[in-house]
Amino acid sequence: MRRRLRTGTEVTAAAAALLLSLALALASPACGPRTGASPPASPARRVVSLAPNLTEIVFAVGAGDRLVGVSDFSDYPPAASRLPRVGGIDVSAERIASLHPDLVLASGDGGTVRGAASALAASGVPVLAVSTTSLDEVLAAIRRIGARLGRSDEADALARGLDARRRAVVARAAARRRPRAILLVWPDPPQAAGGKTFLNDVLSQAGAENLLGGRPGWPVLSAEWLATAPIEVAVLPDSPGNRPVFDRAFSAGPLSRGRIAAARIIRVGESSLTRPGPRVFDALESLAEELSP
């Protein structure tokens, strides 16, 4: 417990990464976005968000004041930190129910939710499951959440703006050579963004070639592959908590040998990079910036 408090940021970083892989590892993109919530009767007024990216989306469409509870990892924008917590990886269904939400936002690929969210849905609490396995899905998520909160106009504007920025990045990158890259979400055991993930979109649309793009999901990589694969660039999520863990892996751990050790390192702010919300487009831009000669 002491350790958990002492290294709070590190833990948050790691937790976010873990959440990300847990939530997205079993993604079945073939199913498409069939989120299972009934059409809104009236805008939701009491909203609980079970993931930090969803919290950010709610704030970004201007409905932050509707949030009555958020997941432990929701720390952005700063106002989110002051909201009641409902748990981290294992959220408490009872705690959520006691907040009397009229909408629960959950991550759920292909529209399916697990754990507490599915229990809540079964007991009649409206749950909106949001899939974010691509940047297109992130934009769609913004529109859908906006619609449920009666903020369709704001959401559309936000999504259009983000999409325009993305197109500009893609256009600029089209002319450049595409360095071969991987995006490591965790150093030990080394785990990277594979195909059919929003981070694969970030990496390739920013102008790099994801060496793992042909392998869907979040593969854990062998030391041998990392030492010998033609990796030119390694993109790392960066946070005060993350950095020492990556540094250890690069100095003596599984990232200390061969090609990965010699690769160019690009660090991108962890909380914007690894959360499929509005700020992932900031990360896209700053990665593209770093990749341009």
Partner: protein, 323 residues
């Protein structure tokens, strides 16, 4: 009988050598032996790099496989039970819980074999005392006690996971599934004393274990101080299991299957069976590790999944062959 079966030992040696060569040659990336031996420039450099990654790993696999098989063979003879195995008796579970608790407490990973050994020893002692009835080890109770121990230590592990920082939990999760991925000379050096001490005790106990294989009373009637011998063998197999689990996670089937296979080939003289099991166990795990690297490149399969995939059908075949 010792040294009387050169063909057996030559065969076992060749099997191990073949598996080690295979373990060095096979993996997620191609390693050219020609480049490794005589290569210059980038090709040679890369070959040497891969070899330097693979070599400690092959050694670790051999050490872990040999330790588990030797511990399994010894427990089977000691308890006169072909189903005895560090995994089934809860020794591995105790070791895993010990190592996980040490990680939770922030003890250096190189010290965790000590904690794993302590966990394994506690588990062995608890299982053995639960299985005693009327001053004797009851075999049905023994397997049930192993089951209970496994259930208990799984609960401890889950508790540790939930209390640990997410970072630690993540690392532990991969370790639990069985992985030789972070083999390094330093870890080998840390494992070696445990393996040597445990193996020495068990190999020197082989003749006593022959008497135990007929029955504990049999050993006592032939002059063996059975309580002392049992404690020693439990301790030594805990040492081997603890070290193996601390560095490679929970790997099933090796301790159960390898002694069976070795016994089918070489009979049940522990003076032959124990060293033969160690060699075959080493070979099996080296081969399984090579398969785990090659099958899912650039990722690796958990080694425990590979041993189970190889082990379960083989075990079934052995059962059908010797009813």
């Amino acid at each position: 009988m010792k040294g009387g079966r050169p063909a057996l030992w030559v065969g076992a040696g060749l099997l191990l050598a073949a598996c080690v060569l295979c373990g060095l040659a096979v993996g997620g990336v191609r390693l050219s032996i020609a480049d490794l031996v005589s290569g210059t420039g980038p090709a040679g450099q890369e070959a040497r790099l891969i070899a330097s990654l693979r070599f400690p790993r092959v050694l670790l696999a051999a050490l872990v496989g040999g330790s588990l098989a030797l511990a399994g063979a010894s427990l089977q003879a000691l308890l006169k039970n072909p189903l005895a195995d560090p995994f089934l008796l809860g020794t591995s579970g105790g070791a895993a819980a010990g190592a996980a608790l040490a990680t939770l407490a922030g003890i250096s990973p190189l010290l965790s074999p000590g904690a794993a050994f302590a966990g394994a020893a506690v588990s062995s002692a608890a299982v053995a005392s639960l299985a005693r009835r009327g001053g004797r080890l009851d075999l049905q109770r023994l397997l049930l006690a192993g089951l209970i121990a496994n259930a208990f230590f799984s609960a401890v592990l889950l508790g540790v996971f939930s209390l640990a920082s997410t970072e630690a939990a993540r690392t532990m999760l991969f370790w639990m599934m069985g992985s030789l991925a972070d083999a390094s000379p330093a870890k080998l050096a840390a494992l070696l004393p445990y393996a040597i001490a445990g193996a020495a005790v068990l190999l020197l106990s082989a003749s006593r274990l022959n008497l135990f294989a007929v029955g504990e009373e049999n050993a006592a009637a032939l002059g063996v101080h059975t309580e002392r011998s049992k404690a020693l063998v439990f301790l030594a197999s805990s040492l081997l299991t603890g070290a193996a689990v601390a560095f490679a996670g929970v790997i099933g089937f090796v301790g159960l299957l390898v002694p069976h296979a070795a016994r089918a080939v070489a009979g049940n003289d522990q003076r032959v069976l124990l060293p033969l099991s160690a060699i075959v166990g080493a070979a099996l795990l080296v081969a399984a590790d090579a398969a785990s690297r090659a099958a899912a490149a650039p990722s690796e399969l958990p080694i425990g999944a590979v041993t189970a995939a190889i082990g379960a059908p083989l075990f079934a075949w052995l059962l059908l062959r010797n009813p």
